[in-house]
Symmetry: C2
Subunit: 161 residues, 2 copies
Amino acid sequence: MTTEQDIRPKERRVEIAPARDAQLRFIGTIRTPFPDRAACPRQGRQDGPDCRLVLDPVWHPALQGLEDYETLEVLYWLDRSRRDLVVQAPRHDDRVFGTFALRSPVRPNPIGTALVRLVRIEAGEVVVRGLDCIDGTPLLDIKPDRSAFTPKAPPKSTEGG
Amino acid sequence: MTTEQDIRPKERRVEIAPARDAQLRFIGTIRTPFPDRAACPRQGRQDGPDCRLVLDPVWHPALQGLEDYETLEVLYWLDRSRRDLVVQAPRHDDRVFGTFALRSPVRPNPIGTALVRLVRIEAGEVVVRGLDCIDGTPLLDIKPDRSAFTPKAPPKSTEGG
């Protein structure tokens, strides 16, 4: 297990002060069949196993209308990730890459994004396929996929139509 | 301008305590030609104007290798958005929708995501097209687009690949 202190040869970390830039609020928890990082697939597949987005009750009414979308964007917080590597080496690879040239969970703001297929919504839980995160991952947001979503407000006249 | 107190008829807000769930770190600033929300297009277009992701110097080395990708995913913090609406009415629309059924900036964790086209990288600034956010928006993350990105590590044997 990598600790906050361990880095591999050629990796580089930076000193970063504790931030007070903005505060997230976890809106629920993601339940997946993957108990740890070793069990997670490298990338989620929309024919993968059912996973559940379990929302805190205060946010249940915010699901109204979500059933109209087949594909959702899900944002979550990779709460076990270190945040101080500027260059890093993927496992099983000696080469190093800049953190922003990878989709590694190790990044200054470890926010995961996934496009998932909606299976069903039941009692404040959204069942989806396509996630690759660890069971218990904190949930940040759910939105319709941008390619399926038509803005409800009409286009602005400055956009030419 | 909507204040924290104003809501439209049929909208619903919730009482949410100040969160201490997780802290973001802004990694830079986004420069766009859009000075306020009225000037922003409803959705970014990859043939839109050049915008600049201006990174804090500590993160410049993290761009190494990013030039290999045509399409990037950009995450940013919509710092002017209220966060307490569970249902809301899009402008120019009397119907209400659950917050998670909209791509409105008003959401419990106002994180914007965009797929953008990389134009060029120069001295810690990434020039892209396809953003729709206000000039000065805090930058959270840059990653290769998932559809273009091939994991550097080999597939796991459990994936059958």
